[in-house]
Symmetry: C2
Subunit: 304 residues, 2 copies
């Protein structure tokens, strides 16, 4: 199976601590890297990981609270000093460009690459990025400021040709692409050779969703139904549910309830309040509702 | 002796690494805290230290390169969430306000304190802050962008009254301030009691200078002559002197030469390039010229 994994850089909320940075993660699909949110210190966490910064071409910003984006100027400045090349695209709402463009213009005058801003509308779900292997949709979330999550949808790879069969039937090169796409082959004697005899099946397309920050909202369920991995914020424990409601965040139980209703395969919880030095109490509350839950932590790599 | 110390938060240059943040330090004079420069992550380093963030009221920015100021929005945002009160003053050149005010307006709408900007002109030496115990002067430095260092000058404290003598001569309360200031006392019988019999001497006024970033420049010597502690940047070793010149930084030997010519009591070197995982080679080169040199490192507290 080709690589599709989530690398947690930071998973705290609001206030970073000496033990926990705020929110940033990197989705790695076949060694192409996509950063989701960029907390203060993200550049340090990225370089401490084994991820190759030269393969990072896209940054997605869920919303414009500092704990999700204060690392942007430092990251981009350092990527410039490290000699990274190739356009870098920041996908975020209109204010992201308004805020960060002047900073980059001032502090990063001689970047060896161009930073482009792709403006997204967080109030609706739309396809905000697509290439041959990946499609990224936005997911409207419910928070104090406009916020969206992101669904990373691997695109089905084509079938793999079975070399011996291609040789045996002397299939012309010009027909190979059609066969990868699923076409059958008809020999010169008129015999039909089913595609299933010529190819091995394409691997299943996997899906990962990042949903932070958000109050409990069943509206997100249609977007995440049956996906392989859901990252859902779990800022508070049940005992602090009133505070969760007030700040439009979720409790661990609420995250688990969403995971259960959406029948996802696995749940990862994160965005823990600094009031919990040990977030295991959040894990326990989530597991009681949705057993296949893992706790985000710095350096965790979650494979799909 | 009352407390006067420098707390190193970060002491690297340009590129932070997993082992070394860039530049930020806190001067602590009698439990009043003054931050000098504010690297990305400074808020985390401050909170990991034993310094009380509630006692931080002034931030001095030497220049506007990212490795010296990217931590400003995160620090101020977190100080707000932690409920700090009282005005916070950022002393920096005019562009500091132009850059950071819009960020604070956007990200820190509900701060429980006011952030004021005190504009300084980095091309001349001037008194930029003064209270009863401290005077801060700027020191023009030589760098690729306008940059200044800072001289922290403790103001002489008044003499301490000797309680038994005050009682013995029945000195009226209204005269005590004059006596603290050095006045003699004349009894009702016309006897002159020398001030030295009524007070213990004021402690000596100490001086600390922060000089980073700067190329080698003997012009700073008059400002730092004979001071107690000089922090001077030492970005490169001698072998990389050409690179130091090109980027308008100093070598460790150059920092030591300045310390020696200015006859300072102690030198601390910092702002090490990330190319030296172990900065002891810089220390060795400095010590060869100025023996009383220490190496800045995260968490170091240097007392005067």
């Amino acid at each position: 199976m080709e690589k599709f994994e989530v690398n947690i850089l930071g998973c705290g909320s609001a206030l970073p601590t000496s033990k926990r940075f705020t929110t940033s993660q990197v989705v790695n699909l076949r060694e192409k890297l996509f950063m989701v949110d960029c907390c203060e210190g993200a550049q340090i966490l990225l370089r401490s990981s084994r991820l190759k910064f030269s393969r990072l071409n896209h940054i997605f910003l869920s919303h414009l609270h500092g704990d999700h984006c204060f690392g942007i100027p430092g990251l981009i400045s350092s990527l410039g000093m490290l000699g990274r090349t190739g356009d870098l695209v920041i996908h975020g709402q209109a204010d992201a460009q308004k805020i960060f463009k002047p900073l980059l213009d001032y502090f990063c005058k001689e970047l060896p690459f161009t930073v482009r801003f792709n403006t997204i509308n967080p109030s609706q779900s739309e396809v905000i990025f697509e290439d041959r292997s990946l499609r990224v949709h936005s997911i409207p979330l419910k928070h104090r400021v406009p916020t969206c999550g992101f669904l990373f949808e691997e695109l089905p790879s084509k079938g793999h040709l079975i070399g011996d069969m291609i040789k045996f039937y002397k299939i012309p090169i010009r027909q190979l692409e059609q066969i990868k796409d699923g076409a059958d082959f008809i020999t010169e004697h008129g015999e039909l050779i089913a595609n299933s005899r010529l190819t091995t099946a394409a691997s299943a397309a996997r899906k990962y969703a990042f949903c932070s920050d958000t109050a409990y909202s069943e509206k997100i369920i249609p977007y995440i139904q049956g996906i392989d991995l859901l990252y859902h914020e779990a800022t508070f424990r049940d005992a602090d549910a009133a505070r969760a409601k007030q700040t439009q965040h979720s409790t661990a139980s609420q995250a688990a309830k969403i995971a259960s209703m959406a029948q996802v395969k696995q749940l990862m919880i994160g965005h823990f309040s600094a009031r919990y030095p040990n977030p295991n109490i959040l894990l326990e509350e989530a597991i009681a509702i949705f057993p296949n839950t893992v706790l985000a932590q710095e350096g965790l790599v979650c494979r799909m």
